[in-house]
Symmetry: C2
Subunit: 100 residues, 2 copies
């Protein structure tokens, strides 16, 4: 049944930007705003809104600090976020297999 395919499909990761954010944070411990923005080629606002949503779900942690006099924002995936995203990827894998 198709519905089982989507058991672990997580709507929090539905959008392309969020898939991108998590993919990057799964393989990088800590990434700053401008790096994430360049890698994903998204606007400041787009990245800010999607990352805020992921933070509210406790899937990522956003840290703000100063480097010298310059404010710096960095992102990292939480353990909960990594697990949830891995489950989501498994659900996508099931979807792919069902389409083969």
């Amino acid at each position: 049944m198709v519905v089982n395919l989507f058991q672990n499909f997580n709507k929090a990761f539905e959008s392309k930007v969020r898939l991108g954010i998590m993919s990057i944070l799964m393989v990088n411990d800590n990434v700053d705003f401008s790096t994430l923005k360049d890698l994903l080629q998204v606007t400041d606002g787009n990245l800010a809104s999607h990352s805020k949503a992921l933070e509210e779900l406790n899937y990522i942690k956003i840290s703000k600090q100063f480097i010298g006099k310059k404010p710096n924002t960095t992102y990292e995936a939480t353990e909960i976020g990594k697990k949830a995203f891995a489950d989501h990827l498994n659900s996508l894998e099931l979807l792919l297999k069902s389409n083969k």
Copy 2:
């Protein structure tokens, strides 16, 4: 670069319901409304709005006919839709590989 991963990522297939609709129509020539609705466990409105969007993109064809006195709506994927969805699945596959 993450951006290349998403080259063929198609925002039209971003939502779980649309992934479900296309997955079903890729392996079934013709499916009616109630079957699609049961398989996906979605509301009438949800299915109607997502399928309408896919129809507007010419990814699916929606046919309305009478069976006896009863109106019947059936859905099928177009060739364009099948190709676009296959490309989208390839993009998801790249994403999965990059997370391995």
